[in-house]
Point group: C2
Chain length 257, copies 2
């Protein structure tokens, strides 16, 4: 690994991108980020889902939703606004749990998270809700193209990230819901350990770990929606790759649904 500004030798630098303006619908996020920071070969640019959704017009008025029978029933159980529950159901392929005020759903993309990713915090207008991007891998690919268009060919990757709760562990951790230009899984199956024996480790979720690293320089109130993770060049690929879709555990492979 080459180091470079903000990166210790053989280490990693995690650098917030300050000074991004309030994001509105239709804005080219990649151009905005490229203009605010000096990007290097091999950088991984981690962008918060919230600004991606805003740029893609995925902020809706909650009252625009007409709650159906299922939404009204769930809303009563959960103590939530029926219109908000209707928005959540429209984003869901399946509700996994609805109890204790918490609704855990599988989104149409195949991600399992609270409220199917529908969020009402950190939005400029009262009474609105933010949905996940329709296709977060496509979002990552588009932002990657926008960033590299203005630069002389640096090879870099983009991750779209969001905070998800976890089974078995308290607290939320940031994960990749979309990515382009990075292998999201570093597959160790079949490789040997330091003593030459087969490794039990299977595959490391590099894109999720990079999203988590980026989250450490954020502050949920200050709004640092873009972060550079520098020093991961060995995971950056020329092609866009399989995206964060490769991180979804399908129902057949999942022992916990």
């Amino acid at each position: 690994m080459s180091g470079g500004p903000g990166v210790p030798d053989d280490g990693l630098g995690v650098l917030p991108v300050p000074g991004l303006p309030e994001v509105t619908e239709g804005i080219a996020l990649g151009e905005l980020i490229a203009a605010e920071t000096e990007l290097e070969q091999g950088d991984v640019v981690v962008v918060s889902q919230k600004i991606v959704s805003k740029a893609e017009g995925r902020v809706l008025s909650i009252s625009s939703a007409i709650p159906g029978a299922e939404a009204r029933k769930l809303a009563a159980v959960l103590g939530k606004d029926p219109a908000l529950v209707e928005l959540i159901l429209a984003e869901s392929r399946e509700v996994l749990r609805a109890e204790g005020g918490v609704l855990i759903a599988e989104t149409h993309h195949g991600f399992v998270c609270a409220n199917a990713g529908v969020d009402t915090s950190n939005l400029p207008e009262e009474g609105t809700a933010c949905l996940l991007p329709e296709d977060p891998d496509a979002s990552a690919r588009r932002i990657r193209t926008e960033i590299t268009a203005g630069l002389e060919g640096p090879l870099l990757a983009v991750i779209v990230s969001d905070s998800f709760g976890r089974a078995w562990r308290l607290g939320q951790a940031e994960v990749a819901i979309g990515c382009a230009g990075i292998s999201p899984l570093d597959d160790w199956r079949g490789r040997a350990d330091a003593a030459g024996r087969r490794l039990e480790a299977t595959a490391i979720a590099i894109a999720d770990e990079a999203a988590a690293a980026a989250d450490l320089v954020r502050d949920k109130t200050s709004g640092v929606p873009a972060v550079i993770v520098r020093g991961l060049g060995r995971h950056v690929t020329e092609e866009d790759g399989p995206g964060a879709a490769a991180l979804r555990r399908t129902r057949d492979e999942d022992l916990f649904r």
Copy 2:
């Protein structure tokens, strides 16, 4: 945040600690790490479970275990060595799933992971298995004391980390199984967003995200068992704190057991 060597302004540096010798039982890991690196005020030292377990003599000969009836039954279902399954059961409070060659158990500490954390890779001797530390929070506290004993009072934190699989998502991610000197959960409940409204985000699993960041500079074959995460000083506390025990979701709070 103050920056300092290897840390970009307002950012984070993630620095491998090279040159650690092979760890053997009884060695004072904290002294070893302090001798190999220049530690700074506010550093978070992330230490791999494997070397902590080795230092604590938690490596056993698999054939030392006499498989009971349950171990023999599970071993047949899973296609595993019955003696190894016996070791796993001895580390388990409860087996959650045993199918498709995978055994997911809750450890006596209350962590849910594959094989109750019993691992046979990256060990010097064939036919041995490594167990998790008996009390990883106590391990972190001891390593913290060892590190700071030799230094003029820098306030730093220690995390003991391991790679865990996840429900719903493919790939393993590094998490904190023990910690001292860091608030493992950064609690945002009741705080306000940039627009002054209540945040929906509950609590960020800072210690898990720091463990994940550290993993990005590791290479599962090269053995970088200690990593410094520099720039998290605001999360480092004078007291040892609640440890990674605070990250366990208890059975009552868990919708997925």
